[in-house]
Chain length 282, copies 2
């Protein structure tokens, strides 16, 4: 592992670079970000050492870490730019459209579809943290379509970064993430909105940290530039998840309205099973 | 402060007792819980030293820390049992119905309506923690109706426990809490339900800790015995908050459906203002 080029130097790309540099001190990191301030910050923070629009032909890896709706064009562009020994990895939160877009591309073996399940509500290079990816799950899709030797290069890096690898079909990935990630962000945004609307006429704001509010609404601080594209790229699955959620809310609302004490309790007791899932693998 | 009697020895009552005992080592703590196992646990954990159904006539305080729907009967019962120097404090999550119920009670000056904004998703005496209340907000209602000397006793204890006192009208309290606490719990339960439904046919569960899911759904582990009564006791405000929330979700859903990229971004940017509120007072 000698040379990595990054496109997108925000939270995820930046964290990836910082962690890789810790594990491989001689690594040369080049990269680009369309935001000049981010590019400047990334140089200052040592996320990359050289700013470059194009990867060097002998780059081992090109990592694409830009918003979900930019990845398709960027991936096709990047495949045209790389040499024969380079692997392109994207870190996007949706996988189906991207995998479909390059399904018959002649350089398909030089691409690996990846999604690290890691993030915070903050964004940009200043939010990057070399520990962000440590022991996190990395989902890989359509592994069989990636060249064996190039894949080995990726495994070598992922193992060094302590990533826990999982393998999923792209459609399964998108369906699954709609529920365990995209829906959480969406509901958190809407919770934030509902409270903010009320706050306009309620001046009496007090410390809500203990009420459970802050943990539930934390994701409403997330980047709109990142999450708008995710909701749209995974539109079908997100709408299905959202419709199921609204139906559940509406049914629960009805139980409150008619004061169905036993029904409310029974339903919440069943949902408490989430304890087992949250503790899964801990 | 010599003697406190507690009714309800769960997370909140237990934490209150443990913290008070740390600050006043000579304090005598008596109490009761209708759950025999909780009563046993509370004795074993030192939450109380003597199990008693009725408070001693010379108790300084009686703390009521039982589910919201039990408090009205319990408060009226307790006011009948106490001596003239005893103050009764309830720690319930809803305040209007309770304050109304005793508005014209001859012993109204011996009651203080309180609500500490503290809790976790766990319950029972084993979840009690002497640090739970430290530096948390304590909302007090209808202070003017409580006897001055008895109030001083309460202030003495609250200050010792490092509680940050706030004063609100009971109706304002219930309206406010519907948004910043009750709605968060409700949406978290429904998020848990929606994902659990999906999980039945999706075997591929992976570590979701990094996805934001676990913080958003944490409150779905909460006690149904506590939260069912809160939703019903504060029914009117909870339904209003929930209706606002469902309307917001539905409008956001529509923006996704028609791929209103700019509208989604604008809305999320506005919601990001929640950063300022979450950091309020930090």
């Amino acid at each position: 592992m000698n040379k990595i080029h990054l496109v997108g130097l925000g939270l995820l790309g930046g964290s990836f670079a910082l962690a890789a540099k810790q594990k491989f001190p001689d690594l040369q990191l080049t990269g680009h970000d369309h935001n000049p301030q981010h590019l400047q910050d990334a140089l200052g923070l040592g996320i990359i050492s050289v700013a470059k629009t194009l990867p060097d032909p002998d780059s081992d890896l090109v990592i694409l870490a830009t918003p979900a709706d930019t990845l398709e064009d960027l991936l096709i562009q990047t495949l045209a730019q790389i040499g024969p020994k380079t692997l392109v990895i994207d870190l996007g939160s949706t996988k189906s459209k991207l995998c479909d877009a390059v399904a018959h591309h002649p350089k398909r073996p030089q691409y690996l579809a990846a999604h690290p399940i890691a993030g915070t509500e903050y964004s940009g290079p200043k939010a990057a943290d070399p520990g962000l990816l440590d022991r996190k799950v990395m989902i890989l899709c359509e592994l069989e379509k990636t060249d064996l030797q190039l894949k080995e290069k990726a495994y070598h890096l992922f193992d060094a970064l302590n990533l826990k690898l999982r393998f999923m079909d792209p459609a399964e990935h998108d369906r699954h993430l709609a529920y365990v990630s995209h829906l959480s962000h969406l509901t958190s945004f809407m919770l934030g909105k509902t409270v903010l609307q009320k706050m306009e006429d309620e001046k009496n704001i007090f410390d809500m940290a203990g009420s459970g509010f802050s943990s539930t609404v934390r994701l409403a601080k997330s980047s709109p530039d990142m999450w708008g594209p995710i909701f749209l790229e995974n539109k079908e699955n997100v709408l299905a998840a959202l419709d199921g959620y609204i139906a559940n809310l509406t049914a629960f609302r009805e139980k409150i309205a008619v004061e169905d004490r036993a029904g409310l309790k029974k339903e919440m007791v069943e949902i408490n099973a989430i304890r087992g899932i949250l503790d899964f693998g801990k």
